[in-house]
């Protein structure tokens, strides 16, 4: 019988760091604005996972409260971002993130 492997909180933190890094890479690499949004969601989710892990590690419910706020901010961010995207794509169908460079002053 092998020795029992215990899942420590550090495992969750490492997983969160990995998801965050993947999301950051995708955000920098992809050009479709909607996929970039999804990458931002990935990063936010990695952070919420970390918060919940710390909440359990430190025996403090505050971590879970912050996750609620992160959820609200994520919802607001997606709604406003998609509204901007719709306004943009109405003017220029098939726009990519590069096309917004025309906005520079």
């Amino acid at each position: 019988m092998i020795a029992a492997i215990e899942v420590t909180p550090a495992w969750y933190l490492v997983l969160g760091a990995l998801i965050f890094a993947i999301g950051a890479f995708g955000l920098l690499v992809r050009r479709n604005p909607l996929v970039m949004f999804m990458c931002v969601e990935l990063m936010l989710n990695a952070v919420t996972l970390t918060f919940v892990t710390f909440s359990r590690m430190l025996q403090d419910t505050g971590g879970q409260s912050i996750v609620v706020f992160v959820l609200v901010i994520a919802a607001a961010e997606v709604v406003v971002g998609l509204a901007i995207l719709i306004a943009l794509l109405r003017k220029r169908p098939h726009a990519t993130a590069d096309d917004v460079a025309i906005l520079e002053g």
Partner: protein
């Protein structure tokens, strides 16, 4: 002896990582959105494994039920669901730079974690596990974080109003910038310069469909209601 938490962690963690990689490396945005659902569910499972049952439910309802559906709606309504050829690298060296940045972020977080020796410090107290987590969360939200809670509700309202204003198709005569005619030549010049810079030709501004604002509003309201509950 099989440990339940280990099995749950391995399966949910694999789903999370596979979904995250799927988001980044899917050529079709719809596939990316579906991969994102995999990650969100995996994280919800990990929430349950860490005794955050209410947050797991909220995660599934708000993220998978509202945010991803909203993204899919916009994808389908606007027809942005074109396949992007990932083999083309429009900005030379961008991917290498992005990979370096991502690895740097990863190294930073790993370094911070390793510097603590993976030990728990600063334990605040003992959570009374006989009280359900939703009770503890509600108590925390409405005592310690009451102002933040109210501010966040205001923020949601502002987001709803902003989304309606921006998503609405303007009625009546279009507002024309008085300086527009003189600037036409300058704008066209800039478009050419920008096109040369990014290697992309701008299309003609064809009009899209005007029904998107309603979807934004619905999804945001459902997200707001969930949080309010």
């Amino acid at each position: 002896m099989i440990q339940v938490e280990l099995v749950v962690f391995v399966i949910a963690g694999a789903a999370c990582l596979a979904g995250a990689l799927g988001v980044v490396f899917s050529e079709n945005p719809v596939h990316a959105a579906l991969s994102l659902v995999g990650t969100l569910f995996g994280i919800a499972v990990l929430f349950v494994a860490q005794e955050a049952n209410f947050l797991a439910a909220v995660q599934v309802i708000v993220y998978a039920g509202a945010i991803v559906v909203l993204i899919l709606f916009v994808l389908m309504l606007l027809g942005v669901d074109e396949v992007e050829d990932l083999r083309i690298e429009p900005l030379v060296g961008q991917r290498v730079a992005a990979a370096i940045v991502a690895l740097g972020v990863l190294a930073l977080t790993f370094g911070a974690l390793a510097s603590t020796g993976f030990e728990v410090t600063g334990v605040v107290g003992e959570i009374d596990t006989s009280v359900p987590d939703i009770n503890r969360l509600g108590e925390s939200l409405f005592t310690d974080y009451l102002y933040a809670f109210e501010l966040v509700s205001l923020l949601l309202l502002i987001a709803v109003v902003g989304a309606i204003v921006m998503g609405r198709r303007p009625r009546g005569p279009e507002i024309v910038d008085p300086g527009q005619p003189e600037r036409e030549a300058e704008i066209a010049e800039r478009e050419v310069a920008a096109a040369a810079r990014v290697g992309y030709v701008f299309g003609d501004g064809a009009e899209g469909d005007g029904d998107e604002a309603a979807d934004d509003e619905d999804a945001d309201e459902s997200a707001g209601e969930e949080v309010a509950k």
